[in-house]
């Protein structure tokens, strides 16, 4: 059997058996249940509130998996030296990282799929219990899947960043901290640059704006993958936007992954 696929399977099974996953699922279920209660507090465009709550649950679950399972499992393998048992066999370091990434991707995919289904169930229950509640404008399954797909892609970017920092840092906490910073910057940098360019709240020198624009080349623009407004308000999905954003996400993942491989190959594991 291909060693990459073998490690992917092992990582996936390890993730499924991990107790953290149960906690994450429980948290997501609680958020879905809150859909039924919280939507009653709104009277107009209730579908939008359901989308907000559903995707908040998906985000929290996905990020928890990356932070606690992804970083945790890779970090433990490296720092507890269990990685020796694998790379000592006819498995290259590159194959090991690819397998681990594949396993986590598979785990994220399955969890997103299950939680996405549960989100729909909670939408259904919420709508049935609340008279007058309707699905978002222009709702379609394709738009829902597209939004979930792009959400998944943004999580994969965070996952690739987390792998990079887990490999270069010596501490699990540092890896978590750096990954969280990138996640936060990724969602905020675009707004910060826009605010600076507008110059309504503060006046900054052009070189500072240039620096921030330069940083936006370095950090992933995670807000570009957020299509919740399109789903919640039935806004049109621009084909060119989807293709270019998809390509942008895939390219960023590939670059981060290659950097991770290079560093992991050079890393002294002893």
């Amino acid at each position: 059997m291909n060693p990459i696929w073998l490690i992917t399977k092992i990582t996936f099974k390890e993730g499924i058996r991990n107790r953290i996953l149960f906690g994450i699922t429980l948290l997501a279920l609680l958020l879905f249940a809150s859909n039924v209660v919280l939507t009653n507090l709104f009277s107009l465009e209730v579908g939008k509130v359901m989308v907000d709550l559903g995707f908040a649950a998906l985000s929290l679950a996905g990020l928890s998996i990356i932070f606690f399972l992804g970083i945790g499992m890779l970090s433990q393998d490296i720092h507890n030296k269990t990685v020796y048992m694998i790379v000592g066999r006819p498995v290259t370091r590159a194959q090991y990282v690819m397998g681990k990434f594949g396993g986590m991707t598979l785990l994220l995919f399955v969890v997103m799929l299950i939680l996405g289904f549960l989100a729909m169930v909670s939408f259904g229950i919420g709508s049935a219990l609340r008279p007058g509640a309707t699905m978002p404008r222009n709702f379609s399954w394709v738009s829902l899947l597209t939004t979930i797909g792009f959400h998944f892609l943004s999580l994969l970017i965070v996952l690739s960043v987390s792998f990079f920092f887990t490999v270069i840092s010596s501490s699990i906490y540092l890896a978590m901290l750096f990954t969280f910073c990138i996640y936060f910057i990724g969602h905020s940098l675009e707004t910060i640059v826009k605010v600076l360019i507008k110059g309504e709240f503060m006046e900054v020198s052009p070189w500072y704006v240039g620096l921030m624009k330069g940083m936006s080349w370095l950090f992933p623009n995670l807000s570009a993958f957020d299509l919740k407004a399109n789903l919640a308000y039935g806004l049109p999905y621009d084909g060119a936007y989807l293709i270019w954003t998809g390509l942008y996400g895939c390219a960023y993942i590939v670059i981060m992954f290659l950097l991770t491989l290079v560093i992991f190959k050079q890393k002294d594991l002893c």
């Binding site: 507090l41 107009l44 465009e45 509130v49 969602h187 707004t191 605010v195 807000s223 407004a229």
Partner: protein
Amino acid sequence: MLKNKSTIIFFVLFIIGISSYMASAVKVQALRDRLDPTQIVSALNVSPEVLKIASGEFASLLADYLLLKASVYLGGRDEMPEANQKTVSTLFSQSANLDPYFFQTCYFVQGYLPWWKGDYVKKGIEILELFNAHRDWDWQPGFFIGFDYFYFLRDNLTASRYLMEIAKRHEAAKSLGLLGARLAQRGGETITSIAFLKTMYERTENEAQKEEIARRIEALNGVLILEKGIEQYVWSFGHPPETLEQLTATGILKTLPKNPTRPNEAYLYKNGKIEF
């Protein structure tokens, strides 16, 4: 002996701890109960952009929360202190900036801010502009703005611009164009009104609607004739006529145009202005 002593100290401290906790918990609960959540409202005094940056992908959820916070306080109350009005206005503004698509925020803004009068009318319009720009499929934010200009700011011309704009953009709001044209005429823009209605006429397919628009165009053409007549009267006599009949009596107009929108086919004339 020593073991007994430490056990006693442990139990004494434990009992003191438990008693203090219970006493304080009861007191805190009682104090908290006095605070009715609908009597207090607070907002972070930061710009919506800062909230947007801090909330990241949860911006839309934060918008829901801020709106909920404002609406829980507002409840069914009619009056509130000025300070709380300001806080509620801040919450609306923050929520609208975080999610400029959510109609419930738009609805609440229109339902409260302009009615508080003063600066809040313009503040409300400023927030509604956000919704008008984002909800391009919806005529209601534009209608709210038009209404606020007409009713609160007494600015018929600006109100008419909004109403005519939404009538152009939205099939469902075509009838608002008629209202917009009327307001434009009241604002002294009769030619604009006629031009707008003619465009509307060409774009309308429904025969009944076309007939109604044609009637309005005819009425406005009459208004235009009368306005020109009044202008000439003022030029000749130095003051506007007291009645429209004076226009025919002085020979400025041969006959008065008929108003097809009124049963008696007459135009109303007040303070030197024509109404139909």
